[in-house]
Amino acid sequence: MSTSLLQTHQLGKVFGRVIALQDITMELRAGEVLGLLGDNGAGKSTLIKCLSGVHRPSQGGIFIEGNEVVFTSPREALKMGIATVYQDLAMVPHLGISRNFVLGNEPTRGWGLLRRLDMARADRITRAGCGRLGIDLRTTRQPVGTLSGGERQSVAIARAIHFGARILILDEPTSALGVKESANVLRDVAEARDRGVGVIIITHNVYHAFEVADRYTILHRGRSYGNFMRDEISRNDVINMMSGRVTSTTEQG
């Protein structure tokens, strides 16, 4: 069994007088998918922004492979292998696919003033990175804006994995997608998991969560209803907890 990749311990976040998040303890292992569930305003976004370095938690700690980490910027989280793919701002629409793929990690050749982009290598990296997830690109140069929402998500996921993400956070990856597109993205999530990446998938679509997630953390009004393994909980339980219809919780460490 794999060891703990990411843990939070009694994580909390306060904005002025608003307690956005309180006492969140959860765990993610390598090669696992964690479904982070909750209704709007439950604190899902605040939680992932703490994990990806956008917010600094007010209480508690984040641990990667057992060591406590403190992020002051998304770039630091990225360096530790935490990549976040946001639903609508995953990619730059007017930029070509391969230019998007290597953005921030561009391969170059030449030195000094002649140091320039190596587009041939960028194209190869993009094809290889996408191919690994089974995404077959016809062309790597067309603007990302011509791809569908699901294809954009898939390429963004492939990019995160290619550039060394060990922990992949997906914010509502399927909420704007049709049935077939959602299936494709969920297949990419499964592929990432099989490659040993720990995936946190934020969603309020219980069906999508049940399709891929190995464990669940359910948030309601800034608090956790607890952590559950797939076989410990039913769909209806989850739906009830998300909507706050359950009062007794079965907290686990």
């Binding site: 976040t84 701002l89 930029l95 230019r99 921030g104 990690n105 016809r138």
Partner: protein, 342 residues
């Protein structure tokens, strides 16, 4: 495996061509050249001398526009370039005429001054998070006002001449204001500067990491920074670049006229934005081209000089400019939608 290819149609070569931002401007430039060739061809528009005059007008604006294009692709405006032209020219003349500095030393001082002014603009924009349109509108007026006030305070006038007496003027003239006589027409060296700066800007934009960061910064700053692009650093660097381009134009003008006027460069900030937009750059950033801006400047030059050749009252120039801007925005909007529809 689930097939994705069924969704990717073959892109028609013409469609692919149309997805280049400068294509609309190129077509426009051809149409405008042909129109003036028909209307004013025998009044000198087609002669080499006529060509040199409109290229000179185009060059002076194009030096600025290519760099402004990069900043606009990164999603920001710099309106202060207009007053920066006046300030730089005046600083060069005050230092080398009034204070007797060697002109090259004065030029170095102007470059440092402009660099700091650009840094100030950039830091102000990224630190406050205010729209650069407002921030640089403020510095446009502040720089212009300070130039007028300080020049009058120091020299008692608002126009200064006598730069030809400054030490080092001859070599400065060679670099900034020499002319090549070819085919009976005088071709100013500013045309070379224009071509050089457009080429460098294009190379930076399309062939370097920094260029990719410019597109990322303007296209979606949040997603660019989430993959490690130093978005703020990109913006500040480009504000410095636009100020330096304005300083170059200011110095070219000062050396050409061997003097300076505090009001030089007025309206250049808007002309620059207009030709950048005509050149296919999106006002919202993330899309555009430095070559497009150069073509926009060429259109500007052809129209400005062309209506003179055609015998139309030059008062109509701004009407032409406004109408062209509107047409360009409409055409570019349409082309871009087609490009993204694939």
């Amino acid at each position: 495996m689930v097939s994705r290819d069924e969704r990717l149609r073959k892109i028609h070569p013409i469609r692919r061509l149309l997805s280049r931002p400068e294509v609309g401007a190129l077509g426009g430039a051809l149409v405008i050249w042909l129109s003036f060739a028909l209307v004013a061809g025998d009044q000198g528009f087609l002669s080499l001398r006529g060509t040199a005059t409109y290229l000179e007008v185009a060059a002076e604006l194009g030096i600025l526009a290519s760099v402004v294009a990069l900043l606009m692709i990164a999603g920001e405006f710099d309106l202060s370039v207009g007053s920066m032209i006046g300030a730089s020219g005046m600083l060069l003349v005050v230092l080398s005429v009034h204070l007797g500095w060697n002109i090259w030393l004065a030029a170095v001082a102007v470059v440092i001054f402009a660099g700091l002014a650009g840094l100030f603009n950039g830091v102000l924009v990224v630190r406050t998070g205010l729209p650069s349109f407002i921030v640089t509108l403020a510095t446009l007026f502040a720089f212009r006002g300070a130039t007028i006030a300080l020049t009058r305070l120091i020299t008692g006038r608002t126009q200064l001449g006598g730069l030809q007496e400054a030490s080092g003027f001859d070599s400065a003239q060679a670099l900034f204001a020499s002319e090549l006589t070819l085919g009976g027409a005088n071709w100013p060296v500013s045309i070379l500067w224009w071509i050089l700066i457009t080429a460098v800007a294009t190379w930076v934009l399309l062939k370097t990491r920094f260029g990719n960061w410019i597109f990322g910064t303007g296209g979606d700053a949040k997603s660019a920074s989430s993959v490690g692009v130093p978005v703020r650093c990109v913006k500040v660097t480009l504000f410095i670049m636009t100020a330096l381009a304005a300083a170059l134009v200011g110095m070219i003008q000062a050396v050409t006229f061997s003097g300076a006027d505090v009001l030089r460069g007025e309206l250049r900030e808007f002309y620059a934005i207009i030709v950048v937009v005509i050149g296919g750059t999106l006002l919202t950033g993330g899309y555009g081209s430095a070559i497009g801006a150069a073509i926009g400047a060429l259109i500007f030059g052809m129209v400005r000089q062309g209506i003179v050749f055609a015998g139309v009252d030059a008062d109509w120039f701004q009407v032409f400019l406004g109408v062209m801007l509107l047409i360009a925005v409409l055409v570019n909007h349409w082309i871009r939608r087609k490009a993204l529809q694939e």
